[in-house]
Amino acid sequence: MPQKTATVGARSYDGPSSGWWFAGPAVAIIAVFFLAPIAASILLSLTDFDIYALADWQNLRFVGLQNYIQLFHTYRFWVALHNTLYFVAIGGPLSVAASLGAALLLESKLTRLKVVWRTVFFAPVVTTLVAVAIVWRYLYHTKYGLFNLALTKLGFEPIDWLGDPHWAMPAVIFLAVWKNFGYNMIIFMAGLQSIPSELYEAAEVDGAGPARRFWHVTLPMLAPTFLFVGVTTIIGFFQLFAEPYVMTQGGPEESTYSLVMLMYEQGFRWWRLGFASAAAMTIFGITLAATLAQIWLQRKSGV
């Protein structure tokens, strides 16, 4: 049957039109809801579109790269960039490590009630972030919070988690890692399950202990999973917004102020959409560069 269809198709081939009929709806939707807005926002980033332009198109000026230049001269952009990189550099690896750790525990033969644990670990992923952030704001409360209760019980000084500029970002990172590790954990579990057991058996016969089996069998076999998880985590973590927006509003002393918050504030609070679009393009560029660098590094290290 497939053979016959192919020959019929080849005989009556009338150009690429039939292919377009299949791909058309999807392409149209992507063009309207994805490509067009991206093109519009690139154009927008070259103008000073704002509330005045909203009132009257004559108030719109083409400003070239002025928005970008102004952005790079804005002190708060560098603060936001620094905070976002801090969040990605610490939070990203921590999140991947937590996911892998949880996946290994769940795949261990000794673990009982796997379904229960899997559900428990995955639950934060499907919980609404805003609700979670509000609950965590209570957990972090200086006087009545659970974390400080534990700290004081253990004989440590209580920490002003969300009020101290040095602790606010670690607090946000901790929340983000807890919220997100379940998703990657599921992907790691799938990766672990696809490793043939013969490899472990062969390694065992060769005299490899658990640590060496992990290092020489598990990790190399998980390399494609690592690449996927690493890239999606980096992209996701660059979009830090809701956690600080709900818990700290970017404070204290702007220590949790992120790039996306800057974009949101400029665009929807002050309605400077031109400038906000330039910020969006910049965030896209930075994320893309970080992702490419990561792929390049992993390829280079040969895994």
Binding site: D48, D50, I51, Y52, L54, A55, D56, N59, R61, Q70, H141, K143, L162, G163, G251, P252, E253, E254, E265, F268, R269, W270, W271
Partner: protein
């Protein structure tokens, strides 16, 4: 009417409100006949609690105008600004809308607000709306370029909540009337306070206190018709130094609002003697403070840098505006009728009883009995001397985006007063660049 107000005070607010609105319905429906025509629809957006609590007034209006159907939509305050701008862009603004005072300039610049001048003049002649009854400073905020763009619905201003007992302990029997007296009072209170307690609480993430002090010192904050910032000018600098010194001398905590979890509790404990806040906390404190504290606190109009007491404060609150985007003449007329109805002193009284908000006109203060409430007396006095903020659409960005940050830097010693104000002016000038360009172009076109 005063007995109705007692209901409000005793917390039986809904009863008083429902009763008053029913009286209004009975009064207004007398003589009305059923109309069979299709009803004219008026879309009305109200923000926050007002959207819910104003419903009895809307019912009264509908009872009096059977041919009009008012559709009320409640918009949460923190999403209101975005939603209104989006609606403007999408051409889906309502007919009548509650608008924060400080947004009027912005929507006027958008060309979204209907000019109410002629309608108000006609209504005044008919004895319905009385522009002279509104507090002058509040009314002023609704008039831009000589045209009336909104009608005040309720007012709001900030002043000092004072623990008079603490003040007495510190040797001050009278409330301060000048900045010098106030500063001395704060120092004396601080001297008898325990560690961790202060003379004053003025959350550093709120722009109101430095702006109010700046107004009192005579600064216009923006110069040349809002083309440039004037924060580095001598007047604002004097106010800013006064403000920053309160914190630097340790008379107020250098915290933002979020650090204090329960203000009423801390006020009762005497953690601070002066607290800069607004009318919503009068009822809030009445409900939460223990009876022990009765008579030990009051509301105090602002001291003044000279002897012209009380010092000026910001005219806040909400106005009602017409967007008049409908092409249907009947609908526009019906929208105006709703606006005219709500702006009359009689309805201001109902609204006050329904919401606990401060009425914008003197008559409603008398008739609602609010005038006799000792805790609101400070507000009544203060409202005689309020002024709107500069009518530049960028104002909100300037104060919440920049002023608060520079004040924080000066308070925490990361910048000197001069450095902070110079940087503030520089940033404000950047924000106002577009406004300068537009104003200059308009000037060129007019020549």
């Amino acid at each position: 009417m005063a007995h109705l107000y007692e209901h409000l005070r005793s917390g039986r607010l809904q009863n008083a409100c429902a009763l008053h609105a029913t009286v209004a319905i009975v009064l207004l429906t007398g003589g009305c006949r059923k109309v069979q025509e299709p009803k004219t629809v008026v879309d009305f957006w109200a923000m926050g609690a007002e959207g819910e609590r104003a419903l009895p007034l809307i019912e009264a209006f509908e009872a009096a105008h059977p041919a009009i159907d008012v559709r009320v939509q409640q918009v949460p305050w923190n999403a209101a600004h975005e939603k209104l701008l989006t609606a403007f862009a999408g051409n889906s603004l309502p007919d009548v809308c509650q608008l924060g005072n400080t947004w009027i300039a912005e929507f006027e610049a958008l060309g979204a607000l209907a000019d109410l001048t002629d309608r108000v003049t006609a209504s005044e002649a008919a004895g319905l709306i009385d522009p002279d009854d509104f507090f002058p400073g509040v009314w002023q905020g609704n008039v831009i370029g000589g045209r009336i763009r909104g009608l005040p619905w309720y007012v709001d201003t900030r002043l000092l909540f004072v623990r008079t007992d603490l003040l007495k302990q510190a040797g001050h029997a009278d409330l301060p009337r000048t900045w010098n007296e106030w500063m001395q009072a704060m120092r004396d209170v601080q001297a008898i306070q325990a560690a961790g307690s202060y003379a004053m609480l003025a959350p550093t993430n709120e722009f109101e206190t430095p702006i109010i002090l700046g107004m009192q010192a005579g600064s216009a904050m923006l110069r040349d018709d809002g083309r440039y910032g004037d924060f580095g000018g001598a007047e604002f600098k004097r106010a800013f130094e006064f403000y920053v010194n309160i914190f630097r001398e340790g008379l107020a905590p250098k915290d933002s609002n979020s650090m204090i979890s329960n203000v009423a509790q801390e006020f009762e404990r005497g953690t601070f003697a002066f607290y800069v806040t607004g009318p919503w906390n009068v009822q809030g404190f009445r409900d939460r403070l223990s009876p022990r504290l009765e008579g030990k606190w009051t509301t105090c109009p602002w001291p003044s840098p000279d002897d012209s007491w009380p010092g000026v404060a910001i005219a806040g609150g909400s106005s009602l505006v017409l967007f008049e985007n409908s092409s249907d003449e009947r609908r526009r007329e019906a929208s105006w009728q709703l606006l005219e109805f709500l702006a009359q002193p009689r309805q201001q009284v109902s609204f006050t009883l329904c919401t606990g908000n401060l009425p914008p006109g003197a008559k409603a203060w008398e008739q609602s009995g609010m005038r006799n409430d000792p805790l609101f007396a400070g507000f009544y006095e203060q409202l005689q001397n309020v002024r709107p903020v500069p009518p530049a659409p960028e104002w909100e960005h300037i104060v919440t985006g920049e002023l608060v940050k520079r004040a924080d830097a000066a308070i925490n010693g990361r910048q000197t007063v001069d450095e902070a104000l110079a940087e503030l002016d520089q940033r404000v000038d950047e924000i106002l660049e577009k406004r300068r360009w537009i104003l200059d172009r308009q000037a060129r076109l007019q020549q």
